[in-house]
Symmetry: C2
Amino acid sequence: MLAGGYGGPVIEPAALQTAPSATAERADAADERAGRVTINDVAAAAGVSVSTVSKVINGRYGVSAKTAEHVSRVVGELGFETSIVASSLRGGRTNVIGVLVAGFEPFTLGVLQGISAELTGTGYDLLAYSGRSAPGEQAGWERRSLSRLGGTLIDGAILVTPTVETASTPVPIIAIDPHTGRSPLQSISGDNRDGALQAVRHLIELGHRRIAHLRGRGDLESALLREEGYRRALLEAGIPVREELIVDGDYLADTATGAVAALLDLADPPTALFAANDVSAIRAMDVATGRGLRVPQDLSVVGFDDIPAAATSVPALTTVHQPLEEMGRLAARRLLDELDGRAQPEPGRHEELATQLVVRGTTAAPEA
Amino acid sequence: MLAGGYGGPVIEPAALQTAPSATAERADAADERAGRVTINDVAAAAGVSVSTVSKVINGRYGVSAKTAEHVSRVVGELGFETSIVASSLRGGRTNVIGVLVAGFEPFTLGVLQGISAELTGTGYDLLAYSGRSAPGEQAGWERRSLSRLGGTLIDGAILVTPTVETASTPVPIIAIDPHTGRSPLQSISGDNRDGALQAVRHLIELGHRRIAHLRGRGDLESALLREEGYRRALLEAGIPVREELIVDGDYLADTATGAVAALLDLADPPTALFAANDVSAIRAMDVATGRGLRVPQDLSVVGFDDIPAAATSVPALTTVHQPLEEMGRLAARRLLDELDGRAQPEPGRHEELATQLVVRGTTAAPEA
DNA sequence: ATGAAAGCGCTAACAA
DNA sequence: TTGTTAGCGCTTTCAT
């Protein structure tokens, strides 16, 4: 049966555009799905069975050198690449790391860059997936994504700012900046408390005493820790915490607008503001300048995260830098160690990376 | 046969962690793949066939309201989500848009942000895939990725800076900043020539006459157009183009190092430099300051792209802003229009978005 | 209205 | 050494 196989027509790569299949009988089928060469096409063209092709592709034993070489050549000629979809469904490894995100905003992007950098040269591909949360299903997007990905499309996953507890999962998982405090997941985050501490100390050193705090989302661990840092800095400087100077910003620009306005309406308004993230800090600046206040002369502002926009705002925002890229790298490293058997899974293990205050143009000593 | 079905045990969501399956016979199988609920589990739990479940999920006709409601409830209770992998393999639509990238660097990230923004609320999920090019297979990564994704995991794809011609593809495709000039692909890019024109005009207006150009990769359309803009600006100002002031930077920091050094070694060195991208521009600054030159007093520098690092360099880099986000949005819009049948495919159609010079701190009038 | 069964591309027993 | 076959989870005819 193999008789004519080896002597069969050799397809020129250039010719593939119009005739992806080597066997005449399959030509019509090929027309429908132009561009996609399957293992069947290869088997037919090489005159062997699909399992033989599979063995060659995956370097399994049980194929003669001669056959292996022949098949390899046909694979090259046809430009065949095994479909992750099919092999994944079948259950094998895919050599793909999944990064599950709620969306592609600055925070996510920074982390992604780190993961990508760490993965180069490891043989793993990177697949970032953002499941647009179905209406009314904001929280728990990561569970849905994990399900949709089938737990097999990817060999392991990195969850970026997951919102809910995820207990049993089909593949090894590591979380970055988990929102629910200590979870059973292995996780990585920036040192939120210390970052806040640095930010507020900086304001105190500049001579500020009436320092307000624009809080983050109350249900998120990071927001709680940032507020804790704010309080501690005040305490250690002997400055009493005034609750009316703590307002809710929700990490959102829109929520910040009203909160900051209320702050500035106070009889004794603050001379400085520590916002829980850059997005709300930048909005706070807008609100202040909109009222004729000058930043930083009349109001100093410090943010958190150090997103790209922080460097381009006018004036440039003083903020706490989170090592997003490094967080991504570390997460990838931990996951790979586990996947490649270099380390055992350590549920609940939590690592914190140092944060760093970046002083730019929105902070100065209070006037008079 | 349905007899006991409706009266069957109702699984509490909380109980799922340990017993994802409702039928005793399947309990052991479930143990192996904890966390993944399949359509079979749902069918068994609901006491109906898998095809019925499938119909309900996809809103097909041929299911009684009563059954539909029952199945829906079980789906909710078990937290079932259909696997993209399986449904994709079967051939149906997945409602997933693929973004194929060479890696996750600043350029890519900006585009991704735009695509993501445009996709919110459309019902499409976003899957970004970076196939770590196999050794020696740098170019053509997009063809490999496209193959690996099976042409069915995704309903359509956006190729970011593809490197080779891609003729017939399994799904609708649109390219951003294609590297090979006019291709059969529908594509979108920034206005490279005009951006370069703005950059060099700016230098001329400042009073510069000896303006050098650090070229990009010669095989890339964008680099050619940027050089063209440079030449045209000089020409229209009546300044003769001096070929010795044009050197190769390859878009790479390392290549830029030597090229810039050579430029500064000239008997009559340039007072200004237009670099083909930010990465090489920033390196050029380093080289100059390393030789004791001051930027911008002794050497003005303009970059291209406006990556985040351009805003944080010291001094901040004057550069040409590419509307990365808008490019992503437009690509997504075009693709969706095609997928949803609102527009016909227009092979070869090319759209250019305006670029904009951003003057920051690295350009000034030449010192006497 | 419902279910049985085929098949998408691939891998891994198992047979020959 | 090679081929045959049985699924992986899902959708979709086609029966019933």
